[in-house]
Amino acid sequence: MLVVEHLTKVYEDGTVALKDVSFTVDDGEFLVIIGLSGSGKSTLLRCINRLIEPTEGRILWNGVDITQASEAEMRRIRREIGMIFQHFNLVERSSVLTNVLTGRLGYLPSWWSLINYFPEREKERAMAALERVGIADKAHNRADALSGGQKQRVGIARALMQEPKMILADEPVASLDPVLAHSILGYLETLNQEQGITVLCSLHYLDLVQRYATKVIGLRDGRLVYEGTGEQIRNITDEEFKQVYGQEAQRLSVGG
């Protein structure tokens, strides 16, 4: 279970990106974060695995306060939390297999990296992960030779290597076309439903949100302005919509 309490983030330049945000995510939930550009979605996701240092507040992950974790504890926590990025964040010049293998680094001794050593069983695990996202045949290609959709699947395979209990996905389909978007979110949904992996995902398109979310939170200017179940988001009122997206916002697509 993930509990976020009074989370605030003030960047060094004084920007208040998150202001007193609190919510709870139960295990196995598919939580979608919505909000305008600049509303603090990325900041929130990055605070959870402390890629960004929160300024105030607590984040409890199965009872452990992430914000107070030491470096070594943080390593153990992070390897249980996979992360998927809008721009995939693959190492373009490395092979697909190596990119997937790097997902396992949190479990391996540091110094092995000096001799570029991965045990056989990790390589098998990586092939299996690629198998699951359907691009095992590309294992030995360089990552920069892949299409966007394939790259995001490599990103998922990398997260799978962590055997995660939770996946953070920051606009994972924003750079992909609608068909690919459904395919990628479909993978996440399968993982969520079959393995009970909690998913925290920020999304821009309301129809996608309505299709996949079991729970939704809405941010606006760093404040939590909406909280609802999957059922509620599918029947979102104009009032609520404007609360999240602003008074001038127009709903382009309704239903899902």
């Binding site: 721009h87 964040n89 490395s94």
Partner: protein, 712 residues
């Protein structure tokens, strides 16, 4: 001077007057302070330099005279300039009616001014100064600079009349142009640019330049056929001595016969007057007809020389292969130990044409070996440069280092650990070193032991204590641990301050008070430093607050950058001089110099390459729980490989170039040979070295360019 006057109605006469008295003052009063400062400083600087440069003509410069002359010239220039400006104004007002005339007026004015100035210069020089005084100055430099300054002054008065602070500031183009002209005039004098000299002396250097430009004759060995005939001559010729017999002609072989075979040496007295010795009649035969023979004299030790001034030494052989000539026995310095009659030799030599053998000459082989030495020196320096600079470059990459923070307690523990660990390492080294033989017998092993122990123990202790203090501080009540942090930082500040205080006494006070005064002051400055340091350290920790962190990564980054910048700004040739002092002349000194410079240069280039990588993969790997080392290996290194390779090639190129000239200061390689040959006036050999350097550098340029092309 084409300021847009219409925007402001009236010139301000007061400001103009102020600027006439003190250049720039009017502008400053109008609110354009920095403009005024520029003008004032440029007038003062140009004038000062002019007085200095003009006085450098005699060995003992007369600055007072130079200053006086400059003032005269300034007045003369101002007068001339005002006269010309008045003419210009009149011409524009009354003569120039067409647009074309008005367009060319300004350039024409400048051209006329230059011509008039040069025509009037001799008279202007002599107006106030006597010929003797002029001999003690570079008058033309002084005059021309004075004219430029006068022009700046005039412009400045005009400018002051129109400038209105920030609201209206006309272009300063004319001002900059004038300053540049002034600097060029002074530069010509100070650099002693003298085209006349270059042209006059070209003739004498032509031959040498030719030898350097086409030295290939000395690159090869030649064989020469030589016909030699020898006759013995005894000198002096006391009665009763037993002179060698007169040689008789021999059929089919070169021969020479001298009569008499015994005689007296020519003598030169203390004043250099020459008294001729015995006149020899020389006949010879059996040589190639119609060619020349050369006569040489060999003293009793066998040293030969051409006896010039004692008779003909190059003689035409007749059609039958014989010749006859006469020669005084030359004056020969004989070793003082040799007493009594000595046997000398007269040698007749006929050289055949030189025959090309195709073998490389000794000099060419030397040059090739030295070239190889240079190339290898450049290669090795590059290799070592890479190995040493890569770790440094990671420390000097802002994006990697800026994420590294520590609490003040962790910092205190870390510093104590670092110093303590290093000290423990040294102690352990002191214990272990004698076992392997010590610095004398096993210098490398000993150094390695010390280096590893100090480094490893310092790092281990740093991490241990840093973590230990951190976790202790976490368990203590927040305020107590805050106090611990402040106390620790104060302690570190005190130690650093103490050392700085000592340094201040010896380094700064020592300059004025001498070593004894410094020693006296040292305890006080050290104590003061300690107190001040403790205060500042404590204050820093206090300002950080309970949860604040110290950006230790940024500090390491800044320190590494500083070291790299220093290493880079000292030229390789200067490092080579230090290398020669350290390990003596030779390629090793050059290698050290190039390696140090390569480490600094590559470290900077590499770290900039690291700073410009895509941060996405780093973030992704951090998110998987990868350690710092793993992140570097799998996210940073793959991304920096291409730029690293490019920079390495570039550096290799530079290093080989540098290695060819680093020998000029004793760094070994071909430069060493080159400078030796030049000092011995062996210009053809020097030419060989120059050619080899040029060929190598050009080839290398081509190779690295094509490799780089392939990589892109």
């Amino acid at each position: 001077m084409g300021a847009n006057k219409s925007s402001l109605a009236k010139p301000s006469w007061l400001q103009a007057l102020l600027s006439l008295l003190v250049p720039g003052l009017g502008q400053a009063v109008s609110g354009a302070v920095s403009r005024g400062v520029y003008i004032f400083l440029s007038v003062v600087t140009l004038s000062g330099l002019a007085v200095f440069a003009a006085a450098q003509r005699p060995r003992y410069p007369d600055y007072a005279l130079s200053f006086r002359a400059y003032l005269y010239f300034l007045l003369e220039s101002a007068a001339l300039l005002l006269f010309l400006l008045a003419l210009y104004w009149l011409a524009r007002r009354y003569a120039m009616k067409t647009e074309f005339a008005r367009n060319v007026a300004a350039p024409a004015f400048v051209a006329v001014t230059v011509v008039v100035l040069f025509l009037a210069a001799p008279q202007m020089l002599e107006t106030f100064l006597s010929a003797a005084q002029l001999k003690k100055l570079y008058g033309m430099t002084s005059l021309l600079t004075a004219f430029v300054v006068a022009a700046i002054w005039a412009w400045n008065v005009y400018d002051a009349a129109w400038v209105r602070g920030k609201d209206f500031a006309p272009s300063m183009g004319n001002f900059y142009m004038l300053v540049i002209v002034g600097v060029l005039v002074l530069g010509t004098r100070i650099v002693q640019i003298n085209p006349a000299k270059a042209i006059r002396e070209y003739k004498d250097t032509g031959v040498i330049l030719g030898q350097i430009a086409w030295p290939w004759r000395v690159a090869f060995d030649y064989s020469r056929s030589e016909l030699v005939a020898i006759a013995k001559v005894q000198a002096p010729c006391p009665p009763g001595s037993n002179p060698p017999p007169v040689q008789q002609p021999k059929e089919g072989r070169p021969w020479v016969s001298v009569t008499p075979t015994c005689g007296e040496l020519s003598k030169r007295d203390a004043e250099g007057h020459l008294t001729y010795g015995t006149l020899l009649t020389i006949r010879g035969g059996g040589f190639k007809p119609n060619k020349k023979v050369h006569i040489l004299w060999a003293n009793p030790l066998g040293n030969t020389f051409t006896p010039r001034g004692f008779g003909p030494t190059d003689i035409q052989v007749g059609p039958d292969g014989t010749f006859t000539t006469k020669l005084y026995i030359p004056d020969v310095t004989i070793p003082s130990v040799a007493k009594g009659p000595q046997i000398h030799e007269l040698r007749v030599v006929q050289r055949g044409a030189a025959k090309f053998t195709g073998r490389l000459s000794k000099d060419m082989k030397l040059a090739l070996e030295a070239m190889l030495e240079s190339i290898m020196m450049g290669l090795m320096a590059t290799a070592f440069g890479i190995v040493l600079s890569v770790p440094l470059s990671f420390l000097a990459a802002r994006n990697l280092m800026s994420t590294l923070h520590t609490t003040s307690q962790g910092f205190v523990g870390g510093v104590i650990g670092l110093v303590g660990g290093a000290y423990l390492g040294k102690l352990a080294g002191d214990y272990l070193a004698p076992l392997v033989g010590g610095l004398e017998k096993a210098p490398i092993l000993t150094f390695f032991i010390y280096f590893t122990l100090v480094l490893v123990l310092a790092i281990v202790a740093y991490r241990l204590l840093s973590r230990a203090l951190d976790s202790i501080a976490e368990r203590l009540p927040a305020l107590v641990s805050f106090g611990v942090g402040i106390a620790g930082m104060a302690l570190i500040g005190a130690v650093v301050g103490y050392e700085l205080g000592l340094g201040y006494a010896h380094g700064i006070l020592g300059i004025t008070r001498g070593p004894e005064g410094a020693l006296q002051a040292a305890p006080h400055t050290a104590m003061l430093g300690a107190v001040l340091g403790a205060f500042l350290g404590g204050l820093w920790a206090w300002r950080l607050g309970v949860h604040g962190t110290i950006p230790i990564g940024r500090m390491i980054y800044a320190a590494t950058r500083l070291i790299l910048n220093i290493g880079r700004s000292i030229e390789p040739l200067i490092w080579a001089i230090m290398g020669v002092i350290w390990v003596g002349p030779g390629p090793f000194a050059g290698f050290i110099a190039l390696t140090i410079h390569s480490v600094a240069a590559l470290g900077k280039l590499y770290s900039e390459a690291i700073e410009s990588i895509d941060p996405g993969p780093i973030e992704a790997l951090q998110a998987t729980g990868a350690s710092r080392l793993q992140t570097i290996v799998y996210a940073v290194i793959p991304q920096v490989m291409p730029p690293f390779t490019a920079f390495t090639l570039y550096r290799w190129d530079i290093n080989v170039r540098m290695s060819t000239i680093i020998g000029l200061v004793g760094g070994g390689g071909i430069g060493f040979l080159l400078i030796q040959w030049i000092h011995q006036f062996q210009y053809e050999q020097a030419g060989l070295a120059v050619w080899l350097i040029t060929i190598t550098v050009a080839t290398l340029d081509f190779i690295s360019a094509s490799i780089r092309e392939k990589m892109v």
